[in-house]
Subunit: 403 residues, 2 copies
Amino acid sequence: MGLIVQKFGGSSVKNAERIFNVAKIVTDTYSAGNDVIVVVSAQGDTTDDLLDKAHEISARPSKRELDVLLSAGEQISSSLLAMAIEKMGYNAVSLTGWQAGFLTDRTHSNARIRRIETERLRSEIEKRKIVIVAGFQGINRNDDISTLGRGGSDTSAVAIAAAMKADICQIYTDVDGVYTADPRIVKSAIKLEEITYDEMLELSSLGAQVLHNRSVEMAKKFDIKLEVLSSLTKAPGTMVKEVTKMEKMLVKGIARDDHIVKFTIKNLQNVPGIAFKIFSAIAGKKINVDIIVQTAANSANLMDMSFTTHEENAELAQEVLGNLLPGFGNGVYIERDDDLSKVSVVGSGMQTNAGIAARMFETLADNQININTISTSEIKISVLIARVDSTKAVVALHDSLIQ
Amino acid sequence: MGLIVQKFGGSSVKNAERIFNVAKIVTDTYSAGNDVIVVVSAQGDTTDDLLDKAHEISARPSKRELDVLLSAGEQISSSLLAMAIEKMGYNAVSLTGWQAGFLTDRTHSNARIRRIETERLRSEIEKRKIVIVAGFQGINRNDDISTLGRGGSDTSAVAIAAAMKADICQIYTDVDGVYTADPRIVKSAIKLEEITYDEMLELSSLGAQVLHNRSVEMAKKFDIKLEVLSSLTKAPGTMVKEVTKMEKMLVKGIARDDHIVKFTIKNLQNVPGIAFKIFSAIAGKKINVDIIVQTAANSANLMDMSFTTHEENAELAQEVLGNLLPGFGNGVYIERDDDLSKVSVVGSGMQTNAGIAARMFETLADNQININTISTSEIKISVLIARVDSTKAVVALHDSLIQ
C-alpha cells in the first residue's frame, strides 16, 4: 500500500501483446491497493525509425527539432498503454512530459530536469487513476520540448519518484536484475539481491547497461529505493539502496564497455593550464570523458595526455582536438585508438582490500591479456585492453574474483 | 509583402522529397518578403498507421487517448518540415498545437477551436522565423490534447489566418483548384478562377473533398481570402471569397458523395415531438445528419422519417435508433440503405432560375436514373440515386448544365 513508480523500456511495449503484459503488471499493482505512476519509453524501434526520417532530411538536424520529433515516440506508447489499461476496465490517463510537469534546462537532446510541477500528477492520483507518463521528455522555460538523452526514461521515473515521494521506483527491463557479469557472456553470473547506489553507478557507467547512471545518481541524491526487475518473469529483482546487508562478496560485478575510443595527444609541453585548455574545449562541446591519463614529462619536458570517450562522441572530439592542435606547437600530434575495451571490477569492499587489484592483474596476465591503461576509484578498478580480448577477460575475472 | 498562411496536406509531405518540395514553396514565399506560417497534416499514411495500432489494443479506444496518439502524427511532420527549411539555410521553428496557442472546447476527436493565444506565433514571426504549426490539434482547458476531426488541418490554417489577420490563406492540395466536377470523372471539368464561400460550402459539404466545410465556414465568418492550389504545379488556383465578379455560369459545380447511408423509420405515429425525439438522440451522439425527409401521414396517421449520414456514423446511428425503437410502439421498424449516392448541382445563380431543377431531372430521366430522394437549398439541388449510377449522373449533369 503506497505510491509505486514503474518504468517500462521500449522492448516491454514493442507490440500490442507486450503492452497488455505491461498493463497486467500495472493493474495487478494497482489492485493490490497501491497508487501507480507508470513511465514508458518509445516502442521498440520507434526512436530509430524517427531518427532515420530525420536523417533523410538532414545529416545534422537541429537538436530542437530532433527533440520535437523524438518525443512523439513516447507520446504514442503512453497513449497505447493507457488504452490497454482502460480496455482491462481500469481508469487511466496518459500525460506527455509537459502535461506531467517536467521542466528542464535549455539544453536540447540531453536536457537536465530542473523540477517537476506535480499538481497534475497529484490530481490524477487523487481521482484514483493509473497515470502513464511519456518518459524521456520535458519542456524548458521557452515552452520548447526537450529530451533527456540516452536512458532518459529511467531518469524520468526516478525524478517522479523523488518529486512524489514514492515508496519505490521499479525499473522493468529485459533482464531480471543486476548480475555479477553479463549472463549472456558468463554462464555462472549471479543475480545480486542488493547493491549500493555507488556500486550500481560504477556498474552502469561502466557499460553494464542496466540502469542509466543519471537515474542512479538521482536515486542516491533523493534516497529513492530502486528495484531492477524483468517485465517477462515473476522473479524478484535487485534492490538498489543505500545500506545493504553485510555480504561476504567483496566484488559485486565485472563490467565491460566495448563502445569507447581513446585519444592521446603526444609530445605536449608540460606547462600549467594545458589540461584545462584541452578539457574545457572538450566540455564546451558537452562531450563526457572517462579515463584520463597523463604521462610523466620526459627530459625534454614533453608529456602525453590520453582520455577515453564514448564512440558516439569520437568525431566531435577529434574535431575539437584538431582545432586545438595549431596552438600546441611543433611535434604535437593526435593518436586515436578505436580497438580498445574497458573492463572493470566493482565492489564497495575493494577499497580496503589491496589483494583484489593484484588478483585482477594476475588473472589477466595468466590469460595473456595485455593491459593498455589502468584507472582506479574507491570502489572499482578499470583496465583498457584490446577489444578482441574483452569477452575472455570478463569470463576469467568472474571465475577468479567471484566464483 | 504581407503575412501568408500556407497549409499542406498529408500527401504533400509524405516523404523526404515531397517535404523538400514544400520547403521550396515556403522559402520562395518567404524570400519574396512575406512572413509565412505553415500548417501541416500528418505524413501520408501516418494517421491510418496510428489508428491501426490503437485498434490492435481496443476496438473502441477512448477518444481522449486517441487524440494523444493521433496528434503525434502532425508533431512528426512539422518537425521534419522545419528541419528541411533549416537545411535550406532559413530559420524555422515547429510548434505543436498547444505551443501555437490553440485552445479548444472539451470535445475529443472533433473539438472546436475556442481561440488562439497568439503570443508565441507573434514572437517567432518578429524574429523573422518561418513558423511550422502542427495542424489538426489543440488543448482544452484541462490541458488535455484535443483534435479537430476530419479535415482539421484546413480549419487550423484558417483559424491562424483569422487570429493573425493574415493577408491570405493558401490551401495546397493534390488538385490545383476547385473544378466544376471531379476531373477524374468528367474530362471536360473546368477549373474555377473564383467561387463564393457559400458555393464552396455546398461543394465541400457535398463531397467535393477539396476543403473541409468547417474551414470554409470560418473563412466566411472572418472574411479570410482562401486560395486552393496544388503543391505540385505552378498553376494559379481557385480563389474563395465573398464577392466574385459576375459570371454567366449559373451552375458552379456538380458534386457527389458515395459515402452516405440512408435510414428510414417506417410507420411512425404522426404526433408532435417525434422528430425532436429522434434527432436529439442522434445529435447526443454527435452524429451529423444531412438530408431529412418526412413523408405525409397516411390515413392511419402513420408516416416515415428518413435521414442520411456519413457511412462512418452508420453503426452508431443504427444503435441509437435501435434503442429508441421500443418507445415507438408496434409496427415501427428501421430500414437502412447502404447503396445510395448523393449527387448535387451547386451555384448561387440557381435560386432565381427554376429551369435548372427541371433540366437536372430531365437529364437524369434521359439517362434512366431513378431519383430516390430530392433535397434543395438556396444554392443547390441534391438527389439521392443508386450508387451504381453516380458516375454516369455526374458526367451527364456536367454535360447538360455546364458544358
